[in-house]
Symmetry: C2
């Protein structure tokens, strides 16, 4: 076993002052974590709130330590906790204190007492699957989104409500470099490549990167767009008309709802499990019943839930699409931010008949500067091309050149691996904070990537009602109601963990928790 | 009077070999031109086809000289031509040759013989006003536009069909410079300005430039867009719904028709005079009759006709809009390319109640690289903002920064004045060529700016039918049918004069003329 001081120094983000000889339990967990998960070094960031560091409040420390051990996977569901006596000894606490900690954790649904056997870790309480589909709905969430954006411009507001990752964590400098080079090279002759479908070089680089990740994309069916939002809009318009019914996950990213709203279509919410994704049985039944024209889904790293559908489910989804002869618009915006080292395959990869319109973007993992998105449109390519022509005509050429050049010349994989570890640690830490401060019964998502958390609070909580006071207190978040056309997630909220939340930001988060607890 | 050699050298594009002592008439006209029109030096480019230079075909030279004198304004409608005897003497031609030239010009409708008085210049034969409005039409011109774009990528095809000016004539280097600077400065903090409505600095610079030209624009009602096409789409969606009737000029730019088509609306063609613009009486009557939801017009430097509506007509248009309480979407894309030194005022300038949605772009006169457009949306600002959010979310920030910085730091007016003179000369020369080679009865527009010509051929000509053979011959053009939802301009075509058409390109143009003449 490594000496305490040495460990503390080796582990980035670890607060050495916590590593005293008395906290062997904590050490033990950390070592376990390093052995069981390659991301553990990052996960191991001090699970304490900064206020607690001096004087160390032992009660709080034990609570934090146990929660963190469970969240990080160091203690798994079914594992038995150390005995009360052992905890007393290791943490130098009285029996009554340790018992209070354990009773609190039991009340929070994290552990359960089994008579004469001790305390056992329970299955994590993820948010429940959403209710079943009711009926197609008109969508009108954009005005709220616009209001939420106002807060993002205020640098005094901690951006837990932002849809953007901290840009400094991306590769802005290198992308800027390629943009400068592109601006130097942009010439009359290149101007004509401005026309849809976009730069051949860029389309080929996108397909090459996909191939590198084991995914087949046909560059000749790809259209370059002004960001992923345009790609989603083009895809929807290519396959459906105003009034048509579009099946979506429930909850779903409000950007997808914007695209549906923008085109006067209706959304049909399909029951969705926060761990496994859309309920395929319900989808299969709903398609003929509601005459669904298309599905608009995020099967991987869904926003806001963070799940990745299993490969077998993705294949089954393709079968369902084939049987009903309807298209899937697949938004895969967060692809590069999956925590697993094994890249997942999008549904598009299993598509043999060109029914999947695959949308993605350069903004989420590289740089939001160029605003380059794309759409591999399958059998809908020509229709998409016409719509691009009629919509925005062309995507800026220097921006296309810059992204093509970046993808050709840079080696982003090492940086991305670091970023993913960082995000994984950020989200684990943020989840700890939420579980600690939010109302009892709050359930937090366990995303497989990306940088957002979804928190489902008790049903009687109204997260929108608390919004203005929270902004006034210097923190934003996204009220859950915006993730559904029916507004069924009024008791939920989304938090961005993709920025450096400091002690002050976390204090505001704690105050939000109290605000939501007291109503 | 300047010595022949000196003049030839002083006038760019003038072929000295033509200026021999025997062609005093030509000299006389050139001097007149310089006196009567500031652009005349540019207009004065040799009006001969290059093939004719050696041996000088005197018959052809006299024809060209007279046509050019009339087109350039050196000889005005009502002016008497020199007598046959004078022409014989000056040009050292036989009486029969001079008579044949004059009879040809009379047959072409350019001059008329008055018994015992001589030959007189007739009013120029502009294309006739278009027919009256029939009924609203579904629009479906985008597939043809996409086909036309294919030819633009082929550098062996002379781009008479291009919608773009030769980019080398714009300010690419300086815009590239500002884009490089922007790429250097793009930083995390600036990322949030990415959100609609767009950069405040850019919106202010746009309003400032407008003010400098005597036009009032409110920067706070302006939304920055991905090119003018997005601005047109946003504007249409802000004021009308699928199926609604939109009044347009006839003919109108196919890009406007694309926006209507893109949104499932109907177009109502209003009779339009190639010199004065839309028929306001007909518009006034059509609005209630067809329940017109909005007008989508180019009141200034209309594409393809090139007219600028008179200021009084613009004011009357505002009155009509007010009376019927409908909005105008005003596309003013070519604003910076007006030939007159006195800037015109857009309809927006007279708008007191926020009914005009004013669209323009940086692409036409500065650089197509950044693809920055804008929309001053008046009372429809908030709706426009929501639509931008739902459509493409944001316009690339480095591009916005570059344009703002360009407008702030560069002094483009001198360059623009030169460009306008150049374009004026290009279009005059191109019109000469068309009148010489196209079927008798062809009428050519007299644009007040921009870089395109509209040619109306005899009614029985089908310009689309000749398209493929013309592409195969190495030249593109835009068939007239695409400028109307009803396809009523099948006998017309649009030519781009905004590039360096060489002898070879003009030979192809002449062959197109023969192709259209023989059917």
């Amino acid at each position: 076993m490594t000496a305490p001081g040495g460990m503390g120094e080796r582990r980035a983000g670890y607060t050495p002052s916590l590593v005293s000889g008395t906290h062997r339990f904590l050490h033990f967990q950390c070592i376990q974590m390093r052995q069981c998960h390659p991301d553990a070094m990052f996960h191991g960031k001090a699970p304490m709130s900064p206020e607690a560091t001096a004087p160390v409040r032992k009660f709080r420390l034990l609570t934090d330590t146990l929660i963190h051990a469970m969240r990080s996977g160091a203690m798994k569901p079914g594992d038995r906790l150390p005995s009360v006596r052992a905890l007393c000894r290791i943490h130098q606490l009285s029996t009554s204190t340790v018992r209070r900690v354990l009773e609190d954790l039991e009340a929070a649904g994290l552990i359960e007492a089994q008579p004469r056997r001790g305390y056992f870790v329970l299955e994590p309480r993820m948010p429940s699957p959403s209710p079943s589909a009711s009926r197609p709905q008109k969508v009108a969430v954009a005005p709220l989104a616009l209001r939420l954006f106002d807060a993002l411009r205020d640098s005094h507001v901690a951006p837990f409500g932002s849809p953007f990752i901290e840009p400094a964590w991306l590769d802005l400098d290198r992308v800027n470099y390629h943009l400068r080079q592109a601006a130097r090279r942009f010439s009359p002759e290149r101007g004509l490549r401005d026309l849809p479908p976009g730069s051949d070089a860029l389309r080929q680089q996108i397909a090459r990167r996909a191939l590198h990740q084991g995914v087949t994309l046909d560059w000749e069916e790809t259209v370059i767009t002004c960001g992923a939002m345009e790609a989603l809009n083009l895809a929807l318009r290519a396959v459906a008309r105003p009034g048509d019914v579009i099946a979506v996950e429930s909850p779903t990213f409000y950007g997808l709802l914007h695209a549906i709203e923008n085109n006067g279509m209706q959304a049909l919410e399909i029951r969705t499990d926060p761990a496994r994704g859309i309920d395929l049985d319900e989808l299969d039944a709903a398609i003929p019943r509601h005459n669904v024209a298309a599905c608009l889904l995020m099967p991987s790293l869904q926003n806001p839930l963070g799940f990745v559908m299993r490969e077998a489910d993705k294949q089954r989804l393709i079968d369902i699409l084939e049987r009903h002869r309807i298209p899937l618009i697949e938004d895969d915006a967060y692809r590069e931010l999956a925590f697993s080292d094994v890249p997942y395959r999008p549904v598009k990869h299993y598509d043999r008949s060109g029914r999947v319109l695959y949308c993605s973007t350069f903004s989420k993992a590289f740089s939001p500067g160029p605003r380059i998105g794309w759409l591999a449109a399958g059998r809908y390519y020509r229709e998409t091309l016409l719509l691009k022509l009629m919509g925005t005509l062309a995507t800026p050429i220097p921006n296309q050149m810059a992204v093509a050049s970046y993808l050709q010349h840079e080696k982003p994989d090492r940086r991305l691996a670091q970023l993913r570890r960082r995000l994984s640690g950020q989200l684990a830490r943020l989840a700890d904070e939420v579980e600690r401060h939010f109302p009892p019964g709050t359930r937090v998502s366990r995303p497989a990537g990306g940088y957002v958390l979804w928190a489902a609070l008790p049903d009687n909580v109204d997260t929108l009602a608390a919004y203005d006071a929270t902004i006034a207190d210097g923190m934003s978040y996204v009220p859950g109601t915006i993730f559904s056309p029916s507004g069924r997630f009024g008791h939920c909220l989304r938090l961005n963990g993709g920025f450096d939340f400091d002690r002050d930001a976390l204090a505001r988060l704690a105050r939000l928790g109290r605000r939501l607890t007291t109503g």
